[in-house]
């Protein structure tokens, strides 16, 4: 690490003594290790999608044919916004401003909850159209469309398309839900006067998780919705 970096780096670290070893306090190190393990979990799910999709020579559904891309693009934007509000909450408590912390955490909770809400709405719509984890439901609107234009709708690969789509986005949504629950806990702790400029470990650690979930969605949005 260079000296030029050190000043910024010290400013970015909470003002309580770091523990030996990693140079960061244990909660944060533990969260990073957990995130590393979560990378492997998503590797199993996203990797399966990549392997199944790019090992087959059969046509895959074109982007936008089945999924509602504009709505999801908005949802992506929403999740990015909630990531910004989370980092604003972190900056607020690092400056010792608990009121702004509460405001920004609340914004983040709202953003995350809306994201999950929109995703549930999208699922309901998709299943209504006939897109299910086992492919296009027989007799549904999508099945008729796909029979007419098998290339556009990837008729032959619909089964694994549905399987991978619902599993990946479903487990991402589960992660977002867990994040919202944890953040609600952070919010109530802040309401009761928790966290200070001297100790804001909880905010930073849950923030790391939240940004990671955002990061996964950025990847998922591109490779599932746009490619």
């Amino acid at each position: 690490m260079t000296h030029a970096h050190a000043s910024t780096a010290d400013l970015m670290r909470p003002p309580f003594p770091a523990e030996p070893g990693a140079g960061v306090y244990s909660n944060k190190l533990g969260m990073w290790v957990f995130l590393a393990s979560d990378v492997m979990f998503f590797t199993a799910l996203i990797g399966t999608y990549i392997i199944l999709r790019f090992s087959t020579d059969l046509p895959w559904a074109q982007p936008g044919a089945v999924l509602n891309v504009p709505l999801t693009a908005f949802n992506t934007f929403l999740l990015i916004c909630s990531s910004v509000s989370m980092v604003k909450a972190y900056a607020a408590i690092a400056d010792g401003d608990r009121e702004r912390l509460k405001f920004w955490v609340l914004m983040t909770i709202l953003g995350g909850a809306t994201f999950v809400g929109i995703q549930v709405y999208e699922y309901v719509k998709l299943v209504g159209h006939g897109f299910t984890p086992n492919g296009y439901r027989e007799g549904s609107e999508l099945a008729t469309l796909a029979a007419a234009e098998p290339l556009k709708y990837g008729l032959q690969t619909a089964g694994i398309y549905g399987s991978t789509f619902f599993t990946m986005t479903g487990f991402h949504g589960f992660h977002v839900t867990c994040g919202v629950v944890c953040m609600t806990w952070v919010y109530f702790k802040a309401l009761r006067g928790g966290y200070s400029q001297q100790d804001y470990r909880g905010v930073e650690v849950i923030g790391l998780y939240w940004h990671f979930v955002d990061l996964v969605w950025i990847i998922l949005f591109t490779i599932v919705y746009l490619i």
Partner: protein, 92 residues
């Protein structure tokens, strides 16, 4: 410490950056007429760019020591190894 306000990166600028990149992604995917492999390369590149922004600024990896960055970097090659090995089945 003398001042209570500490130096933070400009998070709003990163936010605008991410929003613009997302708009470009959707635009490239639906309006442009690149051949499919080029399009995929561009889209994946943009996604990695966005993910890096989140990791470096929001997750503060830019300001951490290498020993902490390593924790997050270690699983990435393993993920690549798994996917690449399994996908070579197609070549056979």
């Amino acid at each position: 410490m003398e001042t209570t306000a500490r130096k933070h990166p400009n998070y709003v600028a990163i936010w605008v950056y991410l929003a613009v990149l997302t708009a470009i992604e959707v635009g490239v995917a639906f309006i442009s007429h690149f051949p499919k492999p080029v399009l995929m390369l561009i889209l994946v590149g943009l996604a990695i760019w966005k993910a890096l922004l989140v990791a470096l600024y929001f997750m503060h990896l830019k300001f951490e020591r290498w020993r902490l960055r390593t924790v997050f970097i270690v699983p990435l090659p393993l993920a690549v190894i798994l996917v690449l090995a399994a996908i070579t089945e197609k070549l056979w």
